[in-house]
């Protein structure tokens, strides 16, 4: 049974350990943790032995007090048993302090300035990472000096702690820690937040995180990343994995990614892709990236004017399109000319046998493929649309631009990311 109250790693490291007779055993070089549980358990202290240059581990069971001023063992020095480091054990100073971690809660990459321990039941556990200025000051032994100096001006420094359950260590930095399920916490995040984390870590870690994601999540996260990071990630993946991720993406997003790749790489991926998908993407790649043609997706639903509401709903069930393309159905004649647009709302409230031509609107807002991103955004925002059809010179529908493709123009990116993580 050891006496312990909340303490920081910096307060333990460097202290001298005494035995019952106040003989010096050694100074604390590091803290040994068992990292197999969510809140790692302190299992011992690595000591620089007094009077020799050896390093040994004294187990927690040998100690009866760990305090800010004194750490003492229950027995006497000569009878103390020491242990050595085992697999799966993590050292605080060597592996954690000053290293980067991911704060899952705030989806930020931060540096560990200090670590907080607390007693939970019989065990002493690592409960939080201190990533704030106070942690740095404490490490430099000037916390009290600075805080009392600042208090003269009425400034108080806030603690900046991250609960260890919200911490994801970076794999390439901290070997052996929580590696059973790498990036477990991260996989629960929204893809946009994962993208934000990926953009903050160094290159090797980018690849490591990205490879740990499921294909669906990877596809979504990839779309949120900057073009040069997209190109880098796809470039480092093996072709098979890259292919499966790109095939999961809607054609417009896939075209964006391929458009930023090196040409050979993009061609290789296109060749290996299912032919239909490759053709769609290639037709999108022809348009300038910042135009309606480059933004549009070729996944949309058209129906003949002769259909009834019931037939249309039946068609929708067969096609089972993804959500972003279903809100508007486009009515076309035999040659593919756009003659009307039918909203999902009107379709659902209409009677079974109502003809589509009765409930669809022929007052259509369309854009040309050359229209700029700005113009498309203005139109979508002005008419409060969820999507706008892109038509060629003969008024044939060739794609649609959905609101999420231009939302960056309407709302600045950061605000958008925040909204997505809340909603």
């Amino acid at each position: 049974m050891v006496y312990f109250s909340d303490m920081y790693a910096s307060e333990i490291l460097g202290q001298m350990i005494m035995d019952r007779t106040e003989a010096k055993i050694g100074s604390v070089k590091d803290i040994v943790l068992d990292a197999s549980e969510q809140f790692p358990k302190m299992i011992g202290l690595l000591l620089n032995m007094e009077g020799s240059d050896k390093e040994k581990i004294i187990l927690i069971g040998e100690l009866n007090l760990i305090g800010r001023r004194v750490i003492s063992s229950a027995g006497i020095k000569e009878n103390t048993a020491f242990a050595s480091l085992r697999n799966g054990e993590v050292l605080v100073r060597k592996d954690l302090l000053d290293k980067q971690i991911v704060d899952i809660h705030g989806s930020k990459v931060v540096r560990v300035n200090d670590l907080k321990f607390a007693k939970a039941g019989e065990e002493i556990r690592l409960i939080a990472a201190d990533v704030g200025i106070k942690g740095i000051l404490r490490r430099l032994n000037i916390e009290n000096f600075v805080t009392s100096f600042l208090s003269v001006f009425g400034i108080t420094l806030k603690d900046d702690l991250i609960g260890w359950n919200f911490v994801e260590p970076l794999k390439t930095d901290i070997a052996g820690l929580k590696l059973v399920v790498p990036y477990e916490g991260m996989s629960k995040l929204h893809p946009a937040d994962i993208a934000s984390i990926i953009s903050q870590v160094h290159t090797e870690e980018k690849t490591a995180i990205f490879e740990s994601l499921s294909t669906e999540t990877a596809a979504e996260a990839l779309h949120e990343l900057e073009p040069r990071i997209q190109a880098f990630l796809i470039g480092t993946l093996d072709t098979k994995k890259a292919l499966s991720i790109i095939e999961k993406m809607p054609p417009d997003e896939a075209a964006d990614v391929l458009g930023d790749l090196q040409e050979e790489k993009a061609m290789e991926l296109l060749r290996l892709m299912k032919q239909k998908k490759a053709e769609e993407i290639q037709s999108l790649l022809k348009h300038g990236e910042e135009t309606a043609g480059g933004l549009m997706t070729t996944e949309f639903v058209t129906i003949p004017a002769s259909f009834t509401a019931a037939q249309t709903i039946e068609r929708l069930r067969e096609l089972a399109p993804s959500a972003e393309t279903i809100y508007y159905l486009y009515v076309t004649d035999d040659e593919g000319h756009l003659t009307g647009v039918l909203s999902l709302r009107n379709l659902i409230i209409a009677g079974h046998n109502t003809s589509v031509s009765e409930i669809s609107s022929s007052k259509m807002i369309t854009v040309k493929p050359e229209a700029s991103q700005r113009q498309v955004a203005d139109i979508i925002s002005k008419y409060n649309l969820l999507a706008v059809p892109v038509v060629d010179t003969l008024n044939r529908i060739i794609g649609i631009v959905t609101v999420d493709d231009v939302v960056d123009f309407i709302i600045p990116p950061l605000a958008r990311r925040k909204r997505m993580s809340v909603g």
Binding site: K99, K108, V110, R111, V112, L140, S199, Q200, H202, T203
Partner: protein, 399 residues
């Protein structure tokens, strides 16, 4: 692929020709003619050796110098270095804001009007621009240094003397010569340059597959620096040295070039100085911001906005703002500030070089990319000669 990698080396190399650099080169040319041109060869080698190591560290580890110091050395060292680098860089930013103010003086425009316009404009660009925009502006600025080269040839330099001055080392054993020669080397090898090149490669996200392109970029940067420096020296040598006009500052150079080569040369020189000062103040303050955010462990990238990386943009903003206020002070002791900033740089740079060598030879960090024995020998020779040269300079400066 080279074009996608290119940038950091050229920008760092060119930014070394900042206001302080332009002043030093003009002084060298005006007071010593073509005699010191050979030193530029030495500088090119030293710059390449040190910058290449910085670039390699950044590209291979994906981390900035601040990150690595924080992770591999004690926190006390990291924080002390952070404070020192902040000071050294700050005085260098100040020197560049003074450069902008000098241009205002050349044209008799009030500083209060001229300086804030540019300071706010560049801060706004760094704040709002993404990485691509900022880099394109930097690269354009690098190209604008071409005006010095035009200037150099307009001056109709004495070609045989120019060639012999570049090839045959001449050393004069007098105080003035040695002091100017050491200052020439001191102005091009800098702490901020070392920090910036590494962080900028990291920020750019260059992968180790492209290490060769990164090296070419650094090499090109070192050559461009030397070429620009060469042109400034010969333009001053062909005119001011020949007419026996000794100068102390860049304003002297600009005003003296007017009568010698006509108003066009004067304008070229003045606008060149403005361009050099703007690039210098951006790069140096960004280097500070990178270093501090890396050590403290906060977000620090050009492609973020203020909300995401408040510390990064605040450091740049605060540096700019304080420097701007300082140049409004009449009779600012500029010589003292320049000397002090050189002295601080001279003290810290050997420490930074030493740390750089420790890191680049760390097998766990660099794997097969550690320095070879030959590279280590070259690096040590470079560092020892830098320490020797700068100690001589410091001695002459102080006593």
């Amino acid at each position: 692929m080279f074009l996608a990698v290119v940038g950091p080396g050229i920008i760092t190399g060119t930014a070394d020709n900042d206001a302080g650099g332009v002043t030093t080169y003009s002084v060298v040319g005006a007071n010593f003619g073509y005699k010191m041109l050979w030193i530029l060869i030495l500088i090119t080698v030293m710059l390449y050796v040190t910058q290449e190591m910085g670039a390699r560290l950044g590209v291979v580890t994906g981390k900035g110098l601040g990150d690595l110091i924080r992770e591999k050395f004690s926190i006390n060292i990291a924080i002390s270095l952070m404070a020192l680098v902040f000071f050294a860089n700050f005085s260098n930013v100040l020197a560049n804001v003074v450069g902008i103010a000098s241009v205002a003086d050349i044209y008799h425009i009030p500083r209060l009007l001229f300086v804030p316009v540019f300071v706010f404009a560049v801060w706004f660009i760094i704040l709002k621009g993404n990485f691509g925009i900022v880099q394109n502006i930097f690269m354009t600025s690098c190209l604008l240094f071409f005006c010095y080269i035009v200037n150099g040839f307009m001056a109709k330099p004495d070609i045989p003397q120019m060639i012999s001055g570049s090839i045959f080392p001449t050393i004069e054993m007098n105080r003035n010569y040695i002091f100017t020669a050491t200052a020439l080397i001191g102005t091009t090898l800098t702490v901020w340059g070392q920090v910036f090149i590494q962080s900028y490669f990291v920020d750019k996200g260059i992968d180790k597959k492209h290490l060769i392109s990164a090296r070419m970029d650094v090499l090109f940067g070192a050559f461009w620096l030397a070429f620009v420096a060469f042109s400034i020296i010969i333009s001053a040598a062909a005119t001011l040295f020949v007419s026996g006009t000794g100068i102390d500052t860049a304003i002297d150079a600009a005003t003296a070039l007017g009568p010698a080569l006509g108003p066009f040369a004067k304008h070229l020189f003045a606008w060149g100085l403005l361009n050099a000062s703007l690039l210098g103040m951006c790069v140096i303050s960004m280097s500070t911001a990178y270093f501090v955010t890396e050590i403290i462990g906060r977000e620090g990238k050009v492609s973020t906005n203020f909300k995401e990386a408040p510390l990064f943009y605040s450091i740049i903003g605060v540096c700019f703002f304080i420097c701007m206020m300082l140049v409004f002070i009449p009779n600012l002791p500029m010589v003292f500030i320049m000397t002090a900033s050189q002295a601080i740089n001279t003290f810290i740079l050997p420490v930074v070089f030493f740390i750089l060598l420790r890191l680049i030879n760390d097998k766990k960090l660099m794997g097969s990319y550690v320095n070879s024995r030959t590279m280590n020998v070259i690096a040590w020779i470079t560092i020892v000669s830098f320490v020797a040269i700068s100690s001589i300079m410091l001695y002459l400066m102080l006593f």
